[in-house]
């Protein structure tokens, strides 16, 4: 019996890493005494798969996971039991049956929306027209960044992966909203886009940046749909 759920990872558990997140769910499933299915082999693992690795420090309103139970249970019963067992900061807000043949979340996932809050070290950016700035930022043929992965220096063009982006000034904060490709066929990280954007604008370094994933999407007959519903 397969189920798909959508859950949030809130501020108080922002620093839980992806590996730790998997442990959190395995332990919660045990505490909730859910009849979870186990993998075979020397080191059995609970059959639960996550849509993507969420970065340490990032919060999310729309993480997805699929799990398999050995026994039929009503989705709302599972939701209740899991929420009672999960540590504060995690909450399952939707759960549904899943067709046996459904593709894995990893394969389905295509886009994600992010909300980025930036606080400034110094003022001096009042003159900037943020909408124009974003327009210019996206107008070029490519947005190249250099980053390090597994000890190797790499260059990447972010532009094809940015579906949409907007900026808004609110009080002391600058808020960026962006939709990026996210999944096994291509992935752009909001941190990279934010860094590239901040080095593009003519003002001082950020004091802090806070990232939140607000929605995850999959593709259904080439249509963009909420991943939970695919």
């Amino acid at each position: 019996m397969k189920y798909r759920m959508e859950f949030s990872k809130k501020k108080e558990v922002a620093f839980v890493s992806h590996l730790e997140l998997m442990k959190v769910f395995s332990q919660a499933i045990r505490r909730a005494k859910l009849p979870i299915a186990w993998t075979e082999g020397f080191n059995p693992r609970p059959k639960i798969n996550f849509s993507s690795a969420i970065a340490t420090g990032m919060t999310s309103l729309a993480e997805c996971a699929d799990m398999e139970l050995n026994q039929f249970l009503e989705p709302d019963v599972i939701q209740q039991k899991l929420n009672d067992a999960l540590p504060q900061g995690f909450e399952v807000h939707a759960i549904r049956f899943l067709e046996e043949k459904s593709k894995s979340l990893m394969a389905l996932m295509a886009y994600a929306d992010y909300h980025v809050e930036i606080k400034w070290l110094h003022r001096g950016e009042e003159q900037i027209d943020w909408s124009k700035m974003v327009e210019h930022f996206l107008a070029g043929p490519e947005i190249l960044i250099q980053y390090e992965s597994k000890g190797k220096k790499k260059t990447k063009d972010l532009r094809p992966g940015i579906v949409h982006m907007e900026a808004q000034k609110a009080d002391e904060k600058l808020v960026l909203r962006m939709q990026l490709i996210s999944g096994s066929t291509g992935n752009v990280r909001p941190e990279h886009v934010t860094e590239a954007f901040l080095s593009y604008v003519p003002c001082s370094a950020a004091l802090s940046t806070r990232y939140e994933k607000t929605m995850t999407y999959g593709l259904k007959q080439q249509e963009k749909v909420r991943l939970f519903e695919v």
Binding site: K11, E12, V13, A14, F15, V16, S17, L19, E20, K23, V24, S26, Q27, A28, I29, R30, R31, K33, W38, F42, N43, P44, P46, T56, G57, A85, P87, Q88, G89, K119, L207, S208, T209, R210
Partner: protein, 631 residues
Amino acid sequence: MLSKIDKEWLEEVVLPQVEKPIRYVGGELNSIVKDHDKVSVKLAFAFPDVYEVGMSHLGTQILYHILNDRESFCMERVFCPWIDMQEKMKEYHVLLYTLETFTPVRNFDFLGFTLQYEMSYSNILSMLAMADIPFLREQRIESTTAYPLLIGGGPCAYNPEPLADFFDIFLIGDAEETLLALLDLYEQHKRGDFQRSAFLLEATSLPGIYVPEFYQVQYNQDGKLQSMTPLYEGVPANVRKSLVKDLDKAPFPQKPVVPFMDIIHDRIMLEVLRGCTHGCRFCQAGTLYRPVRERSKETLLAQATALMETTGHEDISLTSLSTADHTQLSSLVDDLLGMCQAQQVSISLPSLRIDTFSMGMAKKISSVRKTGLTFAPEAGTQRMRDVINKGVTEENLMSVAEDAFQAGWERIKLYYMIGLPFEEQEDIDGIVRLSNKVLYLGKRVAKEIGSHRRISVTVSASNFVPKPFTPFQWWGQNSIEELRKKQFSMKDRIRTGNIVLHYHDARVSHLEAAFARGDRRLSRVLIHAHHKGCRFDGWDELFQFDLWQEAFEAAGLSSAWYAQREFDYSDCLPWDFIDSGVRKEFLYAEYVNAQKAMLTPDCRDEGCTQCGVCMDMHCSMQLQEVHRDEV
């Protein structure tokens, strides 16, 4: 009073700049956050190492549970920030804070340190510096600022002297009952006009409480300790350890904190017994935790059930000094397996003895997950095993190893010590010979059962460190050069890649011995070492021996004098004023027996060995059955 740390600011600005920020935020399942306005005694409990080490410590979880169960007390946790976080805290002026409420530890009534390992002493000073608390007790007393009272406990508190100038109170022995009594007393005193010295003086009447400022220490001209005498009437000349006589009734955490982070021992720790009757002569824990006390099967099953429900861990470890000795082990494991298998929870036995080990048990517990097998012959020859009173033979080892290989294990870990008293070169050679013998046995068995898997033996050889309250406390440790020579000689003689040799830095073991056997004057060395930059000395990558040498030199002391000097029976030892329950005469008789390679039998099998603990402390072994379970 200093206000709390701004958590939001810390999380947004500071923590994204450090490795593993989850170490510094708390909020774990089962952690307890109390309103400070509603409690009367606040204790910050410090483990002087990183979060993942400290959270693996069962004692911390036990005390957390006991103290927080009391409505008017609160205990909050603090660990030593890793060096990157230390730098950031300095840069942003963040004081050392507790994980529960982000309160600076300076604001607490007590700051308790658990002393598990001598090489974490430098971290105590790092933490005090980060907390903005003066190191020396005298400085705190003289200051107009109020500081928390510093308490030290744990196994290293049995020789508290190297830390005596820093701490206000040491708690020697089992802390479960005495720590509560101490906080009760404090609460009473706080209701009236609190006088620090009146409180401390009354505290000395509690079992296991040592207040260093109440003693005068005198030294001979040759530098040896002459005497240690109480300064005031009513202060005990000898501090007897605190003992939980009935372990079965002792409180045990039903809802331990479950870390998000992967910690060293990420599992349910079920303490099945405390103490050990085997009497190995190198083993400090074997003396400190006497007499042996078992929890009953019923209690343990109830605890295991509760812990599985409240933690969700995938492994239960039956912890103790010698789990195979539990008189109900076999039926306990059977019943536990029945509970665990449905939830895919596995059981592990961390300490297996060669003479009581059975393959049936190993197969049983590996039915969920197959774990590694470790055996501890401790020494390479029969003579040496007799010297240390490790009552196992080569036949015992070969027979369990054969069983293990037959049952399909391919890798066996063997644990030895080098630098033991009365050791000869042939004992070092014996380690290599015995390990080879186990390897060839494994290869032969593999061939017989038609297995093509690679057989390997991991040999771990640690450097012997003489510890207080053992028969070997008088023995002077091998020099760094001697230990290295022995390590190289093993390395030279191992000629196959199927034996993997691990050994430790001899310089670390040298300092460990100096602090284990040290006196009050070492406080000065620690302060120098801290200022020179020593911290996390138990971590190879951060250990800086040259700085330690400079620190000893600056204090005008010699680490070799402390580590390598052989004590005379007539010498006054720095820890003699502490009464572990085991008599000094007994320990010395054991030292003499060691020299003659004479065995002393297990007291539960062959009668009382007159160590003194049961007679002097009016207690007895707490065994659930007359005989050990057939395993």
